[in-house]
């Protein structure tokens, strides 16, 4: 089980990374933690001629800025779990990171790598879209920002242009009264989920929903924003019946992709279950009411 032979280039900065990427072109692949790429290379599903290691290109930092938190692309899943800044503003990122793979994968795997890899079953892309995150990229023509919702194009495909590298994940600070949650169903803890859901729910002073986002993962080519099916929640106090109604309409209405592993009937059932679990967990606890 050897990866096909390749040349290895380690870069010390993003700028060097962009240079290397431009120099080697399409035959090159970028590796950070490598927890998704390395097994694909070992099975020769991916056969790069050049591997550009950006693992030491930048410090692994989570920084609070004025209106957002900036998470360096090389921040590991393990760091998301232990970061006090993440715990304060986006506990949902830590929640989602905690169910990724196992402790070894979380030691190496990075948030930037996960987003750039664009595996539709991965947890962090789903959460990033729900949180309205943007990614900062650098490329031969300079830097730009891409909303997470526009980053994911299809299975393992992003809107990054040739030569571009994802350097930071910028997550806007939540408005007060916002709660977030992540739920998923997998047949075995740590395995790929059959269905994931990330929810953010903001309530006003009267306890009525002012904003709601629900994004599904693992059921489409990209994270699926199904917030529109929850629109009826806005302006209402999110009692359990309302939440259930929202989850039902998501399960009924969302355009889901068949996974091949299980039936579509079952997938829709799971979508409803996972949606209601995410919505409940993101609702103010006093209003959750009795669970089914």
């Amino acid at each position: 089980m050897y990866a096909a032979p390749f040349d290895y280039v380690r870069v010390g900065s993003w700028a060097d990374g962009v240079d290397a990427l431009v120099r080697h072109g399409e035959v090159a692949r970028v590796i950070a933690g490598g927890q998704s790429l390395a097994p694909m290379m070992a099975m020769q599903l991916v056969v790069p001629e050049v591997l550009i290691d950006v693992g030491r290109a930048a410090p692994r930092e989570v920084r609070r800025a004025d209106d957002h938190v900036s998470i360096g692309a090389l921040v590991t899943h393990g760091q998301l779990i232990s970061s006090p800044v993440i715990a304060e503003y986006f506990p949902v990122l830590a929640e989602a990171a905690a169910v990724i793979g196992n402790v070894r994968v979380r030691s190496r795997g990075t948030i930037g790598g996960s987003l750039a890899h664009a595996d539709p079953s991965a947890e962090l892309p789903c959460v990033a879209v729900a949180l309205g995150a943007r990614v900062a990229v650098v490329g031969p023509d300079g830097g730009r920002e891409i909303p997470a919702s526009e980053l994911f194009v299809s299975h393992f495909e992003t809107s990054l242009r040739p030569g571009e590298l994802l350097t930071d994940v910028l997550v806007p600070l939540p408005v007060s009264g916002t709660r977030t949650a992540f739920a998923e169903f997998s047949r075995r803890p740590g395995d790929y989920a059959l269905v994931e859901a990330a929810a953010t729910l903001a309530v006003d002073e009267d306890g009525a929903v002012s904003d709601v986002h629900l994004v599904l993962g693992a059921v489409g080519a990209v994270p699926l924003d199904v917030s529109s099916f929850c629109a009826d929640l806005v302006g209402r106090v999110p009692h359990d019946a309302e939440l259930r109604q929202a989850a039902e309409s998501v399960a009924r209405g969302a355009e889901l992709e068949a996974s091949g592993q299980v039936s579509m009937t079952y997938i829709r059932e799971l979508v409803e279950v996972v949606s209601i679990r995410a919505l409940r967990a993101s609702s103010p606890s006093a209003m959750r009411g009795s669970e089914k």
Binding site: D7, G34, A42, G55
Partner: protein
């Protein structure tokens, strides 16, 4: 194929090697580093038998190319030693509780448990089980492994007092 010179410290011992970039770390640890206690069970990062600590954190040595680890400090289960006792007390606990049957998962189990134990004392049995989520064992059903880790944890807590 060009080779790349790398240097590792394995259990405190320097290991220099010239490697082709596609060689996984686990192979270099076993072949050049003589660390036969690092096992290969699946090559997918799923089973946990190739667990080593890289700069202190547990990793899949099958999913890291050796070139990526250049300069790193690696700890394998044989690097877990106790100056006072012949056998590290966590290893002793594993042996006394019959927590190893075939023994193939044991190095990874011991390393993973030790890493978590350094971060948390007095964990519940459920928490210990959660720690071991990524380390498969096909022989024991995990009960005696949890017994061993729990008993070591208690023993350490007592000696701290």
């Amino acid at each position: 194929m060009n080779t790349v010179p790398i240097t590792l410290r394995v259990n405190g011992r320097p290991v220099a090697a010239s490697v082709t970039p596609n060689r996984p770390l686990v192979e270099v640890l076993r072949d050049e580093g003589r660390s036969m206690d690092v096992k290969v069970g699946c090559g997918e990062g799923v089973c946990g038998t190739c667990t080593v600590l890289l700069d202190g954190d547990p990793i899949n040595s099958c999913l890291v190319f050796a070139v990526q680890a250049d300069g790193a400090e690696i700890t394998t289960v044989q690097g877990l030693t106790d100056p006072d006792e012949g056998l590290h007390p966590l290893k002793r606990a594993f042996a006394e509780h019959g927590a190893a049957q075939c023994g193939f998962c044991t190095p990874g189990m011991v390393l993973t448990a030790e890493w978590h134990l350094r971060r948390k004392r007095g964990a519940s049995r459920d928490e210990i089980r959660e720690w071991l989520k990524g380390n498969l064992c096909r022989c024991t059903g995990y009960t005696k492994i949890v017994d061993a880790i729990e008993s070591y944890d208690r023993q350490m807590e007592e000696s701290d007092v």
